[in-house]
């Protein structure tokens, strides 16, 4: 649940980039990190192995400044894609307000995409997430590589829930912000649906 602190007037949203190993989750964050003015971003924390695979997670805090009187912050996390890091994935997923599933568009990686998506669903169910209301978007990354699967085939294979999806070339940044925009908007809208009611704790009501 987004953390809305009315006394300090802060909104903090946690967005998790999920997907199979090497699908470009960290690249997404790196591109965002490079695009954000110094004043708006915190230090990007990245725990990677020597071979540059994300070991634990990446964390990028973004300060969107004051919106409607609320200091709004996005916290972007990536999970390690490798299958054997599921405990870490669960940990990172905890308390997520939205999930970006970064799929690799290469046909030979379709299986891994599906496995990772199933893993996401399992982990969400395990943590009692409401799959119907949790904002999720899909990014079909690596569109710049030759021989990638057509979008509609990927949609058929991965997007059975019909969530918003975006083609992307995370290396050049294409589609990165479209994805971030879509997930952020959904998360914030979900937040408002939750808080549209009078913001009074039960005890005071």
């Amino acid at each position: 649940m987004p953390l809305v602190n009315y006394s300090t007037r802060e909104i903090t949203c946690k967005i998790v980039y999920y997907g199979p190993g090497r699908s470009g989750k960290t690249t997404n964050l790196q591109y965002i990190h490079a695009s954000v003015p110094e004043s708006r971003k915190g230090r990007m924390v990245s725990l990677a192995t020597e071979t540059d695979r994300t070991l634990f997670f990446d964390f990028l805090p973004l300060d969107l400044g004051s919106i409607s009187g609320f200091r709004t912050r996005l916290q972007l996390y990536t999970v390690p894609g490798q299958v054997y890091y599921n405990a870490t994935r669960k940990l990172v997923l905890r308390g997520a307000d939205g999930v970006v599933f970064v799929a690799d568009s290469q046909p030979e990686l379709l299986e891994e995409n599906i496995d990772s998506l199933c893993n996401l669903h399992e982990n969400l169910l395990e943590q009692d997430f409401d799959l119907q209301s949790l904002p999720v978007v899909i990014q079909y990354n690596k569109r710049d590589l030759p021989g990638v699967m057509p979008i509609d085939e990927l949609e058929d294979a991965l997007n059975f829930r019909g969530v918003p999806s975006f083609p992307a070339k995370a290396v050049s940044g294409e589609g990165v912000f479209d994805t971030l925009r879509a997930i952020s908007e959904r998360v914030l809208k979900a937040l408002s649906a939750k808080y549209q009611q009078p913001l009074v704790p039960d005890a005071a009501r």
Binding site: N5, R9, I11, S68, S184, A203
Partner: protein
């Protein structure tokens, strides 16, 4: 001393002048036209890619055009100093310096690299002095103003300041459009409609990047032999837009702001729970200081909830207190103390108020249910009994105070209790306080202990009948007598009936304060004799028959036989007293006739 070749593209003609660089450009022209005469040195600084080098080179070109013989050196500081150092190492320092000093126009780029290099700075100062003594012009370009060059020598600073320091800002939109157009023209190309504008609107870090994007666009036009349309511009320049990503983020931010503005109600409408609570409680008249103090500190929801819950508990208690006061005494003056009863920070005081009201509204000590006049085995022939009966008939109207004295065991207490019960039965609306001396003292002590004397007084002042047995016990006490005195006065003013019983007559009670005694004596003092002495009382009654009228009594005691009067003299101190304390009860009935 060679220096660098001047880039032929960088001339004043190709330099687009805008508000951002007008001063720098004018100063540069002036220097080129008359080196060493006006702004010496000329120090130009700007962020990179905004035209420092262009301007520096343009000065060289222009000066050479005016005076082809001019001895001119254009170099970066780095390379220039390398030359200096090389000459020094080769032992040609003086030759080098001599040659340097003949330079008429020295154009040095990137002088920010002087930072922290004291030796280099030292050399610069030396040959500078040599050069300027001969009227040589120095133009310097840097990416920051002189004072911001780290570790710059004060002497250099003062030399820089002696000339002119100008900066070049980022070009505005119009200038950018002009730059794009000029560059395209230079390349002999025509841009499609709207293309310069779109390019100029795209955010680039500096002019160099803008030019890079334009180059890419022009390359497409040249290679594909077509004119690029405005729609294609964003796609084409995206590769050059690394630095323009910030704008991507800003766009994203704009959209998010829009979403959130729709999503989150206006700040005026949305309040944090504490602010909400403050307004709600205020509307109900409660003081909210505690919440206001807690507001800035409480930032996690659990903390906020704690603060609110605690506050509500306090308010609940205040409500209970107020409710109880209201129930105990609907018109209690305490109810007007909103400053306390509506302030959760003053619960102890509110409790105090309640305590007071409780004390005040405690039921008055009542007479024991037995005996009553009906069950009393005292002869109604006894004067004291008849006086008591008369009091019961109309409390507060006669024999007030009624003072009954007699030896212990005479039945004073039962008479008083019966009187109390009788009044209670006949005048249930009259609050009766029935207690004895020790009880009175104990009550007072208790009130003193609880610091509630005020309320205790108020409680007793509500009484309309005060029956106090064993008054003699209070003789000798100070505080109890004082309280009794005040109570006495207060009740009497209110028309309450006062009945006392004691072991002896007021004047015989040792330690009884005069002010009390006189007041007691001013009422009816009557004896309840011991069993064995009752005959005397009855005898007195016999003597009195036939009953004289009150007037007769006042007019002449002669109506009564002498021995009896003598006896009475021993009882009463004055004629006036005789009227009030006349022992013949049948005669007192006369009063009713009046």
């Amino acid at each position: 001393m060679q220096g660098l070749e001047l880039d032929p593209r960088f001339t004043f003609e190709s330099f687009v002048v805008g508000a951002n660089n007008r001063l720098a450009c004018a100063a540069a022209r002036r220097v080129a036209e008359a080196p060493g005469t006006t702004y010496n040195p000329l120090f130009i600084y700007s962020a990179s890619g905004l035209g420092k080098t262009h301007l520096l080179t343009a000065i060289g070109h222009h000066a050479r055009r005016i005076n082809p013989e001019i001895r001119l050196v254009y170099d970066t500081l780095e390379q220039f100093m390398e030359g200096v150092m090389a000459a020094i190492e080769a032992g040609e320092r003086d030759v080098f310096r001599d040659r340097l000093s003949r330079i008429e126009l020295l154009l040095l780029d990137d002088v920010q690299f002087l930072a922290g290099r004291h030796r280099t700075q030292e050399e610069v100062i030396r040959f500078w002095d040599a050069l300027s003594s001969r009227g040589g012009q120095v133009v310097l370009a840097s990416d920051r103003p002189p004072p911001e060059i780290d570790g710059i020598d004060e002497r250099l600073l003062s030399r820089f300041s002696g000339g002119l320091i100008v900066d070049i800002g980022a070009p505005d939109y119009e200038t950018r459009v002009a730059i794009v157009r000029r560059k395209a023209e230079e390349r002999g190309q025509v841009l499609g409609p709207g293309v310069p504008e779109i390019l100029a609107r795209t955010a680039f870090a500096n002019v160099r990047e803008l030019q890079g994007a334009l180059n890419r666009l022009l390359a497409v036009q040249e290679l594909e032999g077509r004119t690029v349309t405005a729609e294609e511009v964003p796609e084409l320049v995206s590769g050059v837009r690394a630095a323009a990503r910030t704008e991507e983020f800003e766009d994203f931010l704009q959209d998010i702001v829009g979403v959130l503005a729709d999503a989150v109600p206006e700040p005026e409408e949305v309040k944090d729970p504490i602010t909400e609570a403050i307004e709600r409680w205020r509307a109900e008249g409660y003081r909210t200081r505690r919440l206001e103090l807690a507001r800035p500190a409480a930032n996690d929801p659990a903390q906020v909830e704690d603060v609110l819950r605690e506050f509500e508990r306090a308010v609940d208690r205040l409500r209970e207190i107020t409710g109880e006061i209201m129930a105990l005494e609907p018109g209690a003056p305490e109810l007007a103390r909103a400053d306390i009863l509506k302030d959760p920070d003053r619960i102890p005081e509110a409790e105090e108020l309640l305590g007071g009201v409780r004390e005040r509204s405690r039921p008055l000590p009542a007479p024991p249910p037995e005996p009553t006049f009906q069950t009393l085995h005292l002869s109604t022939d006894l004067f004291a009994v008849r006086a008591a009966l008369a009091v019961a008939d109309a409390p507060g109207e006669k024999y007030n105070p009624l003072y009954i004295h007699g030896p212990s065991g005479a039945g004073k207490s039962v008479l008083l209790a019966a009187l109390g019960n009788e009044i209670a039965k006949r005048y249930p609306e009259l609050p009766i306080a029935y207690l004895d001396g020790p009880g009175f003292a104990a009550e007072l002590i208790q009130a003193l202990e609880r610091n509630r004397v005020e309320h205790w007084r108020e409680r007793f002042r509500r009484a309309r009948v005060l029956i106090l047995d064993d008054l003699h016990v209070l003789a000798g006490t100070e505080r109890a007598q004082e309280e009794l005195f005040h109570l006495f006065d207060s009740l009497q003013r209110a028309g309450a009936q006062l009945v006392f019983a004691a072991a002896g007559k007021p004047r015989d009670l040792e330690g009884l304060q005069d002010r009390l005694r006189t007041r007691l004596e001013a009422g009816l003092v009557v004896e309840l004799p011991a069993e064995k002495d009752r005959d005397r009382d009855l005898e007195l009654r016999k003597i009195s028959a036939p009953a004289p009228t009150l007037r007769d009594t006042v007019a002449g005691v002669s109506l009564v036989d002498a021995p009896a009067v003598r006896k009475m003299d021993a009882w009463f101190r004055s004629r006036e007293k005789i009227v009030w304390e006349w022992p013949y009860s049948n005669e007192w009935l006369i009063e009713e006739l009046e």
